[in-house]
């Protein structure tokens, strides 16, 4: 039996060797190479689902919810598990044509195990109907997306901006902030400017998927999941009612209006016409509609409040008056004689609207006397004008909390600018400068700049910082954050002179353009008609503030190619101020037909639209 014993030992040794080899092998995999294999298995079987938090909501100044989020659902099918016979049922539940769903299924069926979206933009009600039938709908599942929902009549198209999937270039730029493909990203306006605040923090759900890509279970019972954090809500300075009202007044008009609180720069309304429906961007964008917006000759994408540059016309006259008074070129009771033209140039070049006779500065503003202001600029050098205009915010890009690049600076020339533009002896003459006195010539302003300027006249010399957001609120903690704006600039303006300006502008409304008077509320304003080469008719410009003695609203209106400032622009400003201050529009007496007329004073078509070359 020794022989047997030794064979037994050898065999036991063989068993031990083989078990040893296997133990070493398994140990190598499970202990030495564990992290490699863990990586492989996690890559395989664990997938991260990004959970998009609801974007911050927008409230107006009175707490009216303007912009919310609506959960929408995308229905997916996995063709391998899907029963084609259920397509009619699904289309009936979704109330969508079954040819569309059948078509998408056909396209998806090429990759039988690949989940494919079969219907996007499904409402909760529709989804519920589908889920009620889940037991007979194999291979159907869904994902949640958040969609912007606009709840008021105020569209606020240009200031609001919209939300789209992040673009490749934006992704490159903002990858470090945690963006990934498919994330929503604000495009333009407030959505872009406050993107980092309203975006919130996307969360992650980790789910176990099987070899066919189906979700099998929560990974580690959700221990690894990170909840999404909601974006900050924005409390806007906008008055939704006034905004909607402003938008309703611009039917048939091109132009812009901005109303702000001259005491603090809060923007009450900002509208650029024409605009477009932001709801376009909450669903799959129809390329035809997109084309019609981007290629339309009226340029609806263009923000005419901050981007349209035009000559201020007579709305600049109070600034010239302030300049002349400040420089001692004229005293408040000094008079200039107006024969209906300025004598320089023999009366054929520098015309006035009327023969105003001997006229002082207040009357010159009241009657908008060209002769007076030609004369002022005959006496004053262009660099002094440049300095004061710059002080009042012209020729510089005003701060505004919408997307950068959407605000223009305009132009207020100085002598260096003229030398550059018109070089050589006799390149530019004093006549150019005199023209600036009536807001014409080589000068460009924006509606937003005019509103700030109006505010500064109204509030006694403070150049406010226009802004849209009062505070940002964390919806979970209620914590308020006030955005960091540039401080308003207190200008060193002579209050006596400002009072003269306001007196002239009060008389503009009370006497010259009496139809713009708000019933029972004194106000100040100034008309302007700006030459342009866009189309027939001057641009109608108007600036206004009310109530006159303690203004709560300053408005600048710009209506392209609509004639006199006291027409379309003046009426719009007047009714908006009334609406804001009284909450209503009083159409008794003359105001009824003034109101009526406003809707007939539309923008003349652009030359481009007519097919003739613009001047």
């Amino acid at each position: 039996m020794d022989e047997g014993r030794s064979r037994l030992r050898i065999f036991i040794a063989l068993v031990a060797i083989i078990m040893g080899i296997l133990t070493l092998r398994v140990g190598k995999l499970q202990i030495v190479e564990r992290s490699d294999h863990t990586g492989q298995s996690v890559n395989n079987a664990v997938r991260e689902w990004r959970v998009q938090p609801p974007r911050g909501r927008f409230y107006d100044r009175n707490g009216v919810l303007m912009v919310d989020n609506e959960p929408r659902f995308t229905l997916f099918v996995t063709p391998r598990y899907f029963d084609k016979e259920t397509i009619p049922l699904i289309s009936r539940l979704l109330e969508r044509p079954d040819s569309v769903i059948a078509e998408r299924f056909q396209a998806a069926a090429k990759n039988p195990f690949q989940r494919a979206p079969i219907q996007a933009d499904v409402s909760f009600e529709e989804l519920s109907r589908v889920l009620e039938h889940r037991h007979i709908l194999p291979g159907v599942d869904y994902e949640i997306t958040q969609k912007r929902q606009y709840l008021t009549d105020a569209r606020m198209t240009h200031a609001m901006g919209y939300v789209r999937e992040i673009s490749e270039s934006a992704l490159q730029e903002h990858r470090e902030e945690g963006y990934v493909w498919g994330d929503p990203f604000g495009q333009g306006g407030l959505e872009r400017q406050y993107e980092s605040a309203v975006r919130g923090v996307p969360g992650s759900d980790f789910k176990m998927i099987n070899i066919k890509g189906q979700v099998v279970a929560e990974y580690l019972d959700g221990q690894e999941d990170r909840p999404a954090k909601n974006g900050l809500d924005l409390n806007l300075t906008i008055d939704a009612d006034l905004q909607a009202f402003a938008e309703s007044l611009f039917v048939g008009k091109r132009g812009g209006v901005v109303a702000l609180d001259p005491r603090n720069g809060e923007i009450l309304a900002l509208h650029s016409a024409p605009d477009y429906d932001l709801d376009l961007f909450t669903k799959r964008l129809d390329p035809q509609k997109w084309d019609s917006i981007t290629t339309h000759l009226d340029k609806p994408m263009f923000n005419r409040v901050t981007q349209s540059k035009f000559m201020p016309g007579s709305t600049f006259k109070p600034l010239i008056a302030l300049l002349a008074l400040g420089m001692g070129e004229i005293d408040y009771n000094d008079e200039v004689y107006c024969p209906g033209y300025h004598p320089l140039g023999g009366g054929r070049i520098y015309k006035c609207l009327d023969e105003h006779g001997a006229i002082n500065v207040v009357e010159a503003i009241k009657y908008s006397c060209n002769t007076f202001f030609f004369e002022m600029m005959r006496r004053i050098d262009v660099n002094s004008l440049h300095r004061l205009a710059t002080t009042l915010g012209f020729g510089e890009r005003p701060y505004l909390d919408i997307a950068a690049g959407e605000v223009e600076r305009g132009n207020v020339p100085d002598s260096a600018w003229y030398n550059e533009q018109f070089p050589g002896i006799g390149g530019w003459t004093q006549g150019y400068i005199m023209n600036l006195g009536v807001g014409q010539g080589e000068m460009e302003v924006t509606t937003l700049q005019l509103a700030r300027y109006m505010g500064a006249i109204a509030n006694g010399g403070t150049l406010v910082t226009p802004h849209f957001v009062r505070s940002m609120v964390d919806p979970e903690t209620g914590e308020h954050v006030v955005p960091d704006y540039p401080e308003p600039v207190t200008l060193d303006l002579n209050e006596t002179y400002l009072r003269l300006l306001r007196e002239g502008m009060r008389q503009v409304i009370e006497e010259t353009s009496w139809w713009l008077e708000i019933p029972d509320i004194p106000s100040i304003g100034k008309t302007g008609s700006a030459q342009n080469s866009r189309g027939e008719e001057d641009d109608s410009v108007f600036i206004m503030a009310a109530p006159a003695d303690d203004p709560e609203i300053a408005i600048a209106v710009f209506v392209e190619n609509a004639g006199y400032g006291s027409g379309a622009a003046g009426r719009t400003a007047s009714f908006m101020a009334e609406r804001f201050l009284t909450g209503r529009v009083d159409l008794s007496g003359d105001r009824a037909w003034i109101w009526q007329q406003m809707f007939e004073m539309n923008s003349a078509p652009l030359y481009e639209t007519l097919g003739s070359p613009g001047g």
Binding site: V15, M19, D36, M208, I209
Partner: protein
């Protein structure tokens, strides 16, 4: 007195029933059931195209059948196994032939016979018949008369079913029979040097696939070892020719004879994650290794394996069941299984040695040898130590025929050991 004698008789029999073997068998079957449950009843099971949940209930049924078989085997007398060895062998050969003619093809192998709803993988049954027949032949022989004719008889008994199984296109199972040859010859008293000469070429061939320098090193080492052992020029030359020949043949086959597809199949286990392999056969081993490797020390927990529950591992309730244990039970689970197997095999060999009769010794050695080959190939495959060869892990993998056949072998060993004193010294 008769009653007292009966008592003693019963007590003696009871003590001969080996508890260690029974316990390890039960433990392995239980582990198998848990792993099958995890592979088929996890959160993902509802997504399977063909629901394998019934694998679990089927296996429970087969455990019951095996238990009944175990009890029957314990009751049967020693003589029954000896007398029935050849008839059973003959029956299994007939079944193999029948499977070739009437069999149903499953996974490419025509080795299944169906009796109503119950399928029987006859190649599994053939293992039992072959081990019985081999043991009976060795048992009838006068001890220590190992001659070539006898060795060829044993070889023939083993190779006949092996060839039929190859014809059924189930090379993996046939491989077990080839592996059985050296084990049986070893226990029948084959010269140890000859045995080494039989085994060494296989090892050399393996190294030739994994790494040519290692293979050449092994050939030289083996040559030196045989020379040191025997100081016999002839044996040394034969050892060099056999191992070196296999290495050279493997090299020629891989580079010139075999098609790319075949080479890929053979080579892929050496680096299953490589780009050229992972889309094909390598895919299963990559996922199996990912499952086992990611289990770490203690595993991810019952029903918590992401690979298992995601159905990433192919045939995870049958051939790749070890990936389930490795992933969900970790290194300790792997050690538990390997340890139980080691205990069972060594215990079986000891039981065989205790029986002192060649028939019992050979049955025990044959059973242990068959288990060992299965364990090595199966776990080797799951851990990418070996190519993908589809054979089950004894007692653990889902598969009724295999469980029944393996349990039958074990039951015969237990039964023979229980009645080891009944062995006729005359060998019938």
């Amino acid at each position: 007195m008769e009653v007292q004698e009966g008592d003693q008789y019963v007590r003696r029999r009871y003590t001969n029933l080996d508890p260690v073997t029974l316990f390890t068998w039960a433990a392995l079957v239980l582990i198998g059931l848990l792993a099958i449950f995890s592979a088929t009843h996890g959160p993902s099971s509802e997504f399977y195209q063909f629901n394998p949940r019934q694998n679990f209930s089927n296996q429970i049924m087969w455990v019951g059948i095996s238990l009944v078989g175990l009890v029957i085997a314990l009751v049967l007398p020693v003589r029954f196994f000896q007398q029935m060895a050849f008839p059973i062998y003959g029956l299994t050969i007939l079944l193999l032939l029948a499977a070739l003619v009437f069999g149903r093809e499953v996974n490419g192998a025509k080795s299944w016979l169906y009796f109503g709803p119950i399928g029987l993988q006859v190649s599994e049954m053939a293992k039992v018949g072959t081990v019985l027949a081999v043991a009976q032949v060795v048992g009838m022989r006068r001890p220590k008369t190992m001659d070539l004719r006898f060795a060829f008889l044993l070889l023939g008994i083993i190779m006949l079913p092996a060839i039929l199984i190859v014809l059924q296109n189930d090379t993996g199972t046939a491989l077990v029979f080839f592996g059985l040859v050296p084990i049986v010859l070893f226990w029948s008293g084959l010269d140890f040097n000859l045995l080494l000469l039989m085994i060494a070429p296989a090892v050399a061939g393996y190294f030739a696939i994994v790494s040519m320098p290692v293979a050449i090193g092994f050939v030289l080492l083996f040559l030196g070892f045989m020379w040191w052992r025997t100081r016999d020029v002839r044996i040394s030359v034969v050892s060099l020719v056999m191992t070196g020949g296999v290495v050279a043949m493997a090299n020629v086959a891989l580079t010139m004879i075999l098609s790319d597809y075949q080479v890929q199949r053979i080579m892929s286990f050496t680096d299953p994650g490589a780009a050229e392999f992972r889309q094909n056969v390598g895919f299963h081993q990559v996922n199996s290794m990912a499952a086992i490797g990611s289990g770490g020390w203690f595993g991810k927990g019952f029903l918590q394996g992401t690979q298992t529950q995601g159905g990433y591992v192919f045939e995870q309730s049958t051939d790749f069941i070890f990936s389930v244990i490795g992933e969900e039970w970790g290194f300790f689970g792997s050690l538990l299984v390997l340890g139980l197997f080691a205990i069972l095999l060594i215990r079986l060999l000891q039981l065989g040695a205790n029986m002192k009769h060649p028939f019992g010794v050979l049955i025990a050695a044959g059973a242990a040898g068959i288990y060992l080959i299965h364990i090595f190939i199966n776990i080797g495959m799951a851990t990418s130590l070996l190519p993908v060869i589809g054979i089950p892990l004894p007692f653990i993998s889902y598969g009724g025929s295999a469980l029944l056949a393996n349990s039958a072998l074990l039951a015969i060993v237990l039964s023979l050991h229980l009645k080891k004193d009944d062995f006729s010294i005359y060998g019938y």
